[in-house]
């Protein structure tokens, strides 16, 4: 029973962090109608940004660095959006759907190779946020991981408030529902696209810098979190914010229990991500629109 | 040709687009389908054509239940359709556009034979000179003709035209008008969705009026024109709501 509870708690903690990553992807998809295939690379950039900033500011608390690197990465994302995605929304680009897939994938290829050229293939680890570990009932978690989960939870709540309660949130929702109507009431949909993209990749960067001390950073560190986020948004229903939070928790639990009860413990950790693919296939087979997806028409 | 639509219900989320529509067509009837915006005309065409599957009800074509068939099967059975906004294959030539439906229906007949058929169709539509042009270089009206040509390739028993006259110059409109009449005289049935009252009243033998997903009138144009419910639901509002292009 204790083992079960320990897995449950670990799963939820993981799930919250996963949800943060997926939420960024969902935000971008629901506003821009683009799946960001470079999402993992913004996660990676977040990690490297934290690492570099902590090299420069040696006596600052690492938590303060997190929002700074998120802002930097968010701005990089916004610049990319303006130069490469905005022309698509201005209808300067033929076959926008395939362009969006390829240009974001191309960006991922570019960024991974850039990181490799700049930092080499070896792992870099920024300083820990907190030392030691925390015991939560039967589960023992590293303090860093718990901090990551708590901050993610706060951010999730903050983001939902932002979307539901503020003018910006209202404007974003308006653009996601009807671009033309939004434009008529004075919301510039192009600006909202840029804001949403910057915000979305900023969230990925936060996840990346929060987890950098736990997993350390390599050029390809974003691949697995990104794939997990893709599975989560399909599970949650493409474009649904609550769906991606719920999907994140489900995948966190599946990974935790799957690894915990895997018959061969030496390979259990490796197979964590494999369960996600099984879930992906099951969703496509039985409920392609996910938990909260709008029905395809 | 026998097409029977029985109590068809189609929902999108919370909205009921078709509330149990029933309709029977036979022979080479030429039916006009009108109704205000959002009344379900295109939904009905898309449901017959297999793009939507109805939640309830049944659609039977020449004795075969096609309710849940895919749209490619329905097309091959002999129900042709055009789209409200033309959807010719833009980066393919006019000839290639015409070959697609032919080769999809009966590849064993061979490319040569279908090219011959395509030349006949182009001749009929007076588009022979455009044969090797890419569809995307055609004007909007020419693309409408091309779509009609694609449908004609396989000589379907019934053709559904979704807004064939919208955004089309009067001169071309007259041409499309004549093509429809010729095809009709040769035995093809039609369902024509249109906002253009004049043409639809002159053209159709039978007029069906949809309003909020229901058929509110069905009969000869002259009778339907006088129908109280129709005037109430449609004609009275039509002028102010959407001046016809």
């Amino acid at each position: 029973m204790d083992y079960f509870l320990a897995l449950l708690i670990t799963g939820l903690v993981l799930g919250i962090i996963y949800a943060l990553m997926a939420l960024g992807l969902t935000l971008i998809f629901s506003i821009l109608n683009v799946i960001n295939f470079a999402h993992g690379e913004f996660y990676m950039l977040g990690g490297y940004a934290s690492y570099l900033l902590l090299q420069i500011f040696t006596d600052i608390h690492p938590l303060i660095i997190v929002p700074v690197s998120a802002i930097i990465v968010g701005l990089i994302g916004a610049v990319f959006e303006i130069f490469f995605l905005r022309p698509m929304h201005e209808e300067q680009i033929a076959r926008p759907a395939e362009y969006a897939v390829l240009i974001t994938f191309g960006l991922s290829f570019f960024l991974q190779n850039l990181a490799l050229a700049l930092f080499g293939p070896y792992p870099h680890s920024p300083r820990s946020f907190f030392q030691g570990s925390v015991t939560l009932g039967p589960a023992t978690l590293s303090a860093d991981r718990l901090a990551a989960a708590v901050i993610s939870l706060l951010l999730l709540a903050g983001l939902l408030l932002l979307i539901n309660r503020t003018w910006l949130g209202k404007a974003l929702r308006a653009v996601s529902q009807d671009k033309q109507a939004a434009a008529v009431v004075g919301i510039n949909p192009y600006v909202m696209n840029t804001v949403a993209f910057g915000l979305g990749v900023g969230l990925a960067a936060i996840a990346g810098s929060l987890l950098a001390p736990v997993f350390s950073i390599t050029p390809d560190v974003g691949a697995v979190p990104a794939i997990r986020a893709y599975i989560i948004i399909v599970l949650g229903g493409m474009g649904s914010l609550p769906g991606s939070i719920l999907g994140g928790l489900v995948i966190g639990l599946v990974e935790s229990f799957g690894a915990g009860y895997f018959p061969d413990p030496s390979r259990a950790l490796n197979y964590k991500t494999v369960f996600g693919l099984v879930i992906f296939a099951l969703v496509l087979l039985f409920r392609p629109r996910g938990f909260f997806g709008r029905k395809e028409t | 040709m026998e097409l029977s639509i029985q109590h068809v219900v189609k929902r999108f989320g919370g909205i009921i687009a078709l509330k149990g529509v029933s309709l029977d067509l036979s022979g080479n009837e030429l039916v006009g389908l009108i109704g205000p915006n959002g009344s379900g005309k295109s939904t009905l065409v898309n449901t017959i054509g297999g793009i939507h599957t109805p939640e309830e009800g049944k659609i039977v074509f020449n004795g075969a239940d096609i309710t849940t068939r895919d749209s490619y099967e329905i097309a091959r059975l002999g129900i042709g359709r055009t789209f409200q906004v033309t959807r010719a294959f833009r980066r393919m030539t006019v000839m290639e556009n015409l070959l697609v439906p032919g080769m999809a229906l009966a590849p064993q007949r061979g490319r040569r034979a279908w090219e011959k058929r395509a030349r006949e169709v182009l001749d009929f539509l007076t588009m022979t000179h455009l044969r090797d042009d890419y569809a995307r270089s055609l004007s909007g009206g020419q693309q409408k003709l091309l779509e009609l040509g694609q449908v004609m390739m396989t000589e379907p028993e019934i053709i559904m035209l979704d807004e064939p006259f919208a955004g089309v110059h009067p001169r071309l409109m007259q041409m499309i008008f004549d093509y429809i009449k010729t095809l009709h005289q040769n035995g093809t049935a039609f369902i024509i969705v249109s906002h253009d009252m004049d043409s639809i009243f002159t053209l159709s033998e039978r007029l069906i009026v949809l309003s909020y997903g229901d058929i509110i009138a069905d009969g000869p144009p002259a009778v339907v024109k006088e129908d109280e419910a129709v005037i109430e639901a449609y004609l009275g509002r039509e002028e102010e709501e959407e001046p016809v292009a």
């Binding site: 240009i103 991922s108 991500t273 | 793009i51 980066r91 393919m92 090797d132 001169r171 906002h195």
Partner: protein
């Protein structure tokens, strides 16, 4: 025969034939090391051109092409080492396994919008790699699986060169034939508009799955030959940046032309060799080039170039005629208005 002369009338095709002839006599001049480079380049050319058939003709954006290549490579690798089967059996089995996996994934994802294929294949690719690493008792994981050599009796690279070149040319000819057949016609229609293709009677899912299976098998075949050429396999052959490199090759070359994609692959692979001193920055450059090509020269750099050089062929004609509205209209048609927005939305 008339098809052949038609083929030769387009200068691009003539250039392609000359290049093929050049490739055939190249071993007379090249040192062993450069023969090796060319074998690898042809391997990438098979992958890039088959991906171009899938993406450029079929409009299906798969990120799993390298995974199918690896499935072929590991299938023959394991069969020829663990089961001691002949290499030829391994190659056939590798193609089949790649094809079956392609069928399963195609059947699962191709009913849905295009994005699902991209999402599923990127996940499949990464997770297959994880499994290959995790099952190290069988696959030897990152330490590498030793695979028997195809031309073990000679140290010369020439046989391998002609084999890889032969497979490249054969797959190009096969894919060209396929693209000219009704399959190619339907694929292009599907790429333009799936719903409209279905309304014209095309069994959309069937042709998408068919193409996916065929291109997966070609990737698998490339993998099997490559495995028996380099003789050591690690899961790293299928990392996502490798997929990115193949996509960059196809797109920079020209994704809507099989030959342009293949030549793009060869040129990039050769440049990677020539620019060795730039180390990791080479791929940064090609990454940037990929993004810029997508944004500013969507048809691919080679296609742009050949259009500038020859100003011929249907693509060039298309470009000029689409710019000048109504160039082909006769007087009758000039009256036709080109706008169709007049139609109000209805239904859904």
């Amino acid at each position: 025969m008339s098809q052949l002369t038609g083929l030769l009338r387009r200068p691009q095709n003539l250039v392609a034939l000359l290049l093929a002839a050049l490739a055939l006599i190249l071993p007379l001049f090249l040192p062993t090391y450069w023969l090796h480079v060319m074998v690898v380049a042809y391997f990438y050319a098979i992958l890039a051109s088959s991906w171009a058939l899938l993406a450029g003709y079929g409009g299906q954006f798969s990120f799993g092409h390298m995974a199918f290549m690896a499935l072929g490579a590991y299938t023959t690798g394991l069969l020829t080492t663990l089961a001691d089967l002949p290499i030829l059996v391994g190659i056939v089995a590798g193609m089949l396994v790649a094809g079956i996996a392609g069928w399963a994934i195609g059947a699962l994802t191709l009913r849905f919008k295009a994005a699902y294929l991209a999402l599923f294949t990127i996940a499949f690719s990464e997770i297959l790699r994880t499994i290959l690493r995790a099952e190290a008792q069988i696959t030897r994981g990152d330490r590498g699986l030793r695979v028997p050599e195809l031309f073990a009796e000679t140290i010369s690279r020439v046989p391998a060169y002609y084999l890889m070149l032969g497979i490249l040319l054969a797959s190009l000819i096969f894919m060209y034939w396929l693209a000219q057949s009704r399959v190619g016609l339907f694929l292009r229609a599907i790429r333009e508009d799936e719903e409209a293709a279905a309304a014209r009677g095309v069994n959309v899912v069937r042709y998408k799955v068919l193409t996916f299976v065929i291109t997966s098998m070609i990737a698998g075949l490339a993998g099997t030959i490559f495995a028996h050429y380099i003789t050591i396999l690690t899961p790293n052959i299928m990392v996502i940046p490798q997929m990115g490199l193949v996509i960059a090759m196809a797109i920079i070359g020209g994704v809507e032309s099989l030959v342009a994609a293949a030549i793009g692959a060869i040129l990039i692979q050769v440049s990677l060799e020539l620019l060795r001193e730039f180390g990791a920055w080479r791929l940064v450059i090609f990454g940037a080039l990929l993004i810029l090509t997508l944004r500013f020269a969507r048809d691919g750099l080679l296609i742009e170039l050949s259009e500038r050089l020859f100003k011929l062929g249907p693509r060039a004609e298309l470009r000029t005629s689409s710019g000048e509205e109504g160039i082909h209209d006769d007087t009758e048609m000039e009256l036709v208005e080109s706008r169709s927005e007049g139609a109000p939305a209805d239904g859904a």
